[in-house]
Amino acid sequence: MIFSVHADSPVAIYEQIVAQVIYGVAAGALEVGTFIPSVRELAEQLVVHPKTVARAFQELEHAGVITPIRGRGMEVTPQALAICQAKRQELVRTRMRQALREAAASTLPPPEIRRLFEEELAALNGKRPSREKR
């Protein structure tokens, strides 16, 4: 699982890290017991301030997705899969709401929006393998 963040995204960097872990777990790329790199390692890898990574880890720990293992770092918890599958829905729903708002603001009629959605979804399913990656 490889993380990447974008400073030019409207989503805060720590939220991007949180979302990627959640998607990773939900999609099965991060299984129970998977070792998560330390704050410093990940900070250097992503070129972001360690505090930003620490903030993301704090949030994930609070949500019960990862747990510290003494002196070694963090690992994915047994209950992470269930939590992340629920969270994934929330996250995707939020992003979709934004896109839908934009569509509504353009006054495109709802049947048209629905048709575009179905088309895009079909195109995606045709091309991409079932295991998702972000």
Partner: protein
């Protein structure tokens, strides 16, 4: 001691020209503080006062609890400084400049220098005159880090560096902050530090017009966009308005210290649609704050 670097009403004139004007800033331990502003804004003069190279006319700067000017010699063993365009004796080799500088510091300096030089992939036998700009900048950084400093002050460290070297440089800054060292970087390339900085100070005409942690800054300056049916809202009720734009019936404002309660209620208001509050890039925040400041001095 909460703050590693602090200034109080720091002021400097060159002749009659006011270059740094009552500057107040605080940098906590482990921070990467980015001092951002255009060329000539007063960044270098501020840094020269922080590093004890220039006495302030009034006010004071303290580093690790000591006065930057009075205790300058002592602080030189704990605070490393890399000027914007470092110049060394170019007839020396990499090994020689390390050996020469080691004479001013303790026994650990030389082994530390060799360690950083190898981490930066510098050839010890190479003459300084033959180094590329990026390698030359790394010499400055290796000499600074060999002191094993608690505080690192860098004036425009990435100017003149290639993209890849810049990236490597930012990675090493993140690593150093992770070790608990405190870093102050000046730059006029705002977008570049957006990822790595934990704290930001914006400076123009010698005045620090905004200083905050990155997190607070992104919460305090936001963009509000909405669509209205007949009447645009009165922006002043949402917070301090820095910029305002409109096109057709879409209305946009950049707000400082937005009132969350008013914005929350906005979505339900009659004749107002598609309310969206979004975070902004550091560059956009800088421009919004600066344009307002220039308009109302």
């Amino acid at each position: 001691m909460d703050n590693i670097i602090a200034t109080r009403e720091l002021t400097k004139h060159f002749g009659k020209k006011l270059v740094v004007d009552k500057l107040n800033l605080e940098v906590p331990k482990g921070a990467i503080f980015a001092l951002l502003g255009d060329n000539g804004a007063g960044k270098t003069t501020t840094i020269r006062m922080l590093t004890g190279l220039l006495p302030p006319d009034s006010g004071a700067a303290t580093i690790l609890g000591q006065d930057a000017w009075q205790a300058a010699a002592e602080l030189r063993h704990k605070v490393a400084y890399v000027p914007e365009k470092p110049r060394y004796d170019d007839w020396m080799s990499v090994a020689e400049i390390g050996w020469f500088t080691a004479g001013f510091h303790d026994k650990q300096f030389l082994p530390n220098f060799h360690r950083w030089a190898s981490r930066f992939e510098l050839d010890l036998q190479a003459k300084l005159s033959t180094l590329s700009k990026g390698q030359y900048a790394k010499i400055g950084l290796a000499l600074a880090l060999a002191v094993d400093p608690e505080v690192l002050i860098l004036d425009e460290p990435t100017s003149g560096l290639d993209l890849l070297v810049r990236q490597e440089f930012l990675v090493s800054m993140v690593g150093l902050a992770g070790e608990g060292r405190t870093i102050l970087i000046s730059s006029h390339q705002i977008a570049e530090v957006e990822r790595v900085a934990s704290h930001v100070g914006f400076i123009a005409h010698g005045r620090l017009f905004m200083v905050a942690s990155m997190e607070d800054l992104k919460r305090r300056i936001v963009r509000l966009q909405l669509r209205y049916e007949t009447q645009p809202p009165d922006a002043a009720e949402f917070g301090t308005v820095l910029q305002r734009k409109g096109m057709g019936k879409v209305w946009q404002a950049v707000l400082q210290d937005p009132r969350a309660d008013v914005l929350d209620a906005l979505a339900d208001r009659e004749g107002i649609h598609d309310v969206e509050v979004s975070a902004m890039h550091l560059e956009e925040i800088y421009c919004a704050l600066l344009s307002r400041k220039e308009a109302k001095p």
